[in-house]
Symmetry: C2
Subunit: 484 residues, 2 copies
């Protein structure tokens, strides 16, 4: 028996644990940002002979030992609210698996309130477990809510995850509305709780030991476009901090998950923040932040997931004595909480598939039809921060498709939510602009090859009456071409 | 000198106060829900001979003494973020006045952070004023933020507004991010401050006395469709409170501004809430709530505006001893605050112009082009409450136009935000449904005369590949017909 597991707990193997799961159960799994997800129980369940049609809810992105194994075994019927694996993407886009993406900050509550059915089993990866508590591994996500909501609990103790993770976690557990307290966190790295997720000991039906590393997302290296976007963002921020009273003494930053977000984090050192205190308050801690912490540019970081590459994880754990003070992982309903994002005046930088001339952003569905991952926490930050920035390359497909379009076919972030759009061609500061003025500003940050067509749409639309210039007959012309 | 005005303040007439306003100033005005707006200074400014091009920001809807007089004098260039007068609607829809609508909860912060330019003058209606404080009249809106942001302050003391309003107000004033505290309010009617808005005495340049009643919105009487929607909503809520743990002991309700919202408030008595404590936590207090308070069904109400009819105002003020305990007015960044809406588990019921088969709602622009009023607080509640309901009649134009459409031309509330759509034909409970399942559920609450056409769109869309069934070529067919 490991010293990570308290005596007298129901330690068993994955096959026995998998027996707990019913064929049509709703299963809640730990994991966020591609790390901290359970790795043994669902592969064992998938290997069973019986037919099954599970509903699986995760807090954020998880690995192939959840999505792929269930899809390959034809045992996944419904999936919420975010996924990042090729297998799940294909199954969802072919409508073999039902999916709906919800704002991450709310998923814990929604699970507890029955939005996704009646939760049967929670499967949680942890680094240690006691009679009525566990310490999460490389992500916290919605583990506290999932453990509270499910009838039964399976804990996977992963010996490949370092014990020191408990020095990073701050697990503030919330009661359900309406009796819940305000979240007492007053700064990015303030700790208000301990590392443990409490649970009702009667729920614990199995403890499974594993020793398998996370299979985190891989981010490509920054390219020329990423770096130009970072430059433009940096120029904008350097001007903005001089005039915006919210940013006079400190700057709370958030970057969305992904290669561009990672690249922007990595280029932070190119921005002159003067003598301001710069902190990160986001949902994922990516490799790009390690340099900024090491150089002292960033004084601290709050997130719900250590979404690091294998190399980044090694670097963090090797330096855990240094990092544990300045890096805090929180439950996703705290890391992404509207109240904290608003109180801290977070400057949020999130990406999109495309942005339209009205300022709306589509962050989830290519061509309006094919889901990439889900809305994730983008809407939590973009909607609640006091300076919302959408950063994206102006084109896709090697320049063949404009990502500034007349009208996005699917809206995730409305024109009312954010303030600024950044591409490699510049910054469209939309603050205070009326719809026709927004169109002009957005055409200027489109790829020059598409500006003439965008101006033609603008002209057709502005020739019609109304506050919002809109030409229904041609608004989706680019989608039609792409989609047929 | 009135005893509502402290000695030695710069009392003057409206004409002299209007001299303070520069020709291209940004002017911030009190008012919300059509009440509590300044009534003398801007008419005097409009009557001056000089040319002007003002920017005007209000917290919510105001009366003709702001919008109409400036537009008639051709002195309004820009207007944010919500308006309700026919004159402003026409000027905005003809693009004579630039307009952009923002989420109300955020407008106070955005004004202070320069989102709408550099604020010059705040004109605030109050019932009393001291050397460095004022007590707002029938609405609070963003008065605290506006007073903090503007260089100069004009106070209009309206003797037609009862002094007792100070017994209703609870003005919690917030610092700017990132140093602001959590809002300490733990229940709908808890008071945490006093009735006064503080200001820097050096800003006060004029005090003007008026004696003119508000010109509040007029709501039509409930019709058969409103009452059927109320019935359907009531049936849904009676079932929901039995199963949803958030609603086991108390129910926090919010209804959107407007005739339908007012009708739904008025029909609350038809819902059996068992022995639950029912409270209102919204942005406007409308006539419909008075009966519910009188009958004891509602134990209290929090809002930022007494958007009552003249008759309703009289009823409230005649019974102020009884109502002052159970009705609280707060600043709009508190009444609409994401943190409170989430902590209380508000059940939000908001309306829309149309809803599409994807579950997106357009709440602001008819045909995607012509603004009605602005997004107001609908997004604050719909996005942050834990059970978001959109209620709307299934048709407009006497049945000639379906308000359930293939795709809305303008998105204010995304499919990720709310959970349930209610029409007079039933309830579409979208929780956990994938896009194709949502289409089926939404067709069932459309008017029967349009279901065949909606099914035809669904069939064309689902014949194409992808998670979201989408037919770009025909998604806007109904808009094209209407818009040309």
């Amino acid at each position: 028996m490991s010293d990570r597991i308290a005596p007298d707990l129901p330690v068993t193997d994955a096959e026995a644990a998998a027996e707990v799961i019913g064929a049509e159960d709703t299963v809640l799994v730990s994991g966020f940002g591609g790390v901290g997800y359970p790795k043994a129980t669902l592969p064992a369940f998938a290997a069973q002979d019986e037919d099954a049609a599970l509903t699986v809810v995760s807090g954020g992105g998880v690995g192939r030992e959840v999505d792929d194994v269930l899809i390959e075994a034809d045992k996944l019927a419904r999936r919420y609210p975010f996924q990042t694996q090729e297998a799940s993407r294909e199954a969802i886009n072919s409508r073999e698996v039902a999916f709906h993406d919800r704002h991450i900050s709310r998923v814990g509550d929604e699970v507890r309130l029955g939005e996704f059915g009646d939760p049967d089993v929670a499967i949680i990866e942890a680094v240690s477990v006691g009679e009525d508590w566990l310490v999460p591994s490389t992500s916290i996500g919605h583990t506290p809510s999932f453990v509270a909501a499910a009838d039964q609990l399976i804990v996977e103790i992963n010996h490949a995850q370092p014990d020191e993770l408990e020095r990073v976690h701050d697990v503030f557990q919330r009661d359900l509305p309406p009796g819940r307290d305000p979240i007492p966190v007053t700064g990015a790295t303030e700790r208000v709780a301990d590392a443990r997720v409490d649970f009702d000991p009667e729920k614990l039906v199995a403890v499974v030991e594993t020793e398998q590393a996370d299979d985190p997302y891989e981010f490509r290296d920054p390219n020329e476009v990423d770096l130009t976007i970072a430059d433009n963002l940096g120029d904008f921020l350097e001007n903005e901090i001089e005039r915006n009273p919210m940013l006079a003494e400190s700057v709370y930053l958030q970057f969305g998950v992904g290669s561009l977000g990672n690249a922007l984090m990595g280029e932070l050192s190119g921005i002159d923040f003067g003598n301001r205190d710069v902190v990160y308050f986001g949902e994922v801690f990516q490799d790009g932040l390690l340099d900024a912490l090491d150089s002292g540019l960033l004084s601290g970081a709050s997130a719900t997931s250590l979404a690091l590459s294998a190399e980044g994880q090694e670097r963090l754990f090797d330096g855990i004595d240094r990092y544990a003070e300045d890096v805090v992982l929180r439950p996703a309903d705290v890391s992404n909480n509207a109240a904290l994002i608003e109180r801290f005046g977070v400057v949020g930088v999130n990406s999109a598939v495309d942005v339209d001339l009205y300022g709306n952003a589509n962050a989830t569905h290519i061509g309006g039809t094919d889901v990439v991952s889900g809305i994730g926490g983008g809407g939590d930050f973009n909607r609640n921060c006091r300076l919302g920035i959408i950063a994206l390359p102006s084109t896709a497909a090697g320049g063949g498709i404009s990502r500034i379009v007349p009208q996005v076919p699917h809206v995730d972030h409305t024109e009312h939510d954010h303030s600024v759009i950044v591409t490699e061609h510049g910054v469209a500061d939309l603050r205070g602009l009326s719809p026709d003025e927004r169109m002009d500003a957005l055409i200027e940050v489109a790829d020059p090859a598409f500006r003439e067509d965008l101006r033609a749409y603008r002209d057709r639309a502005t020739a019609k009456a109304g506050h919002v210039p809109f030409d229904a007959g041609t608004a989706f012309d680019w989608q039609e071409t792409g989609g047929d």
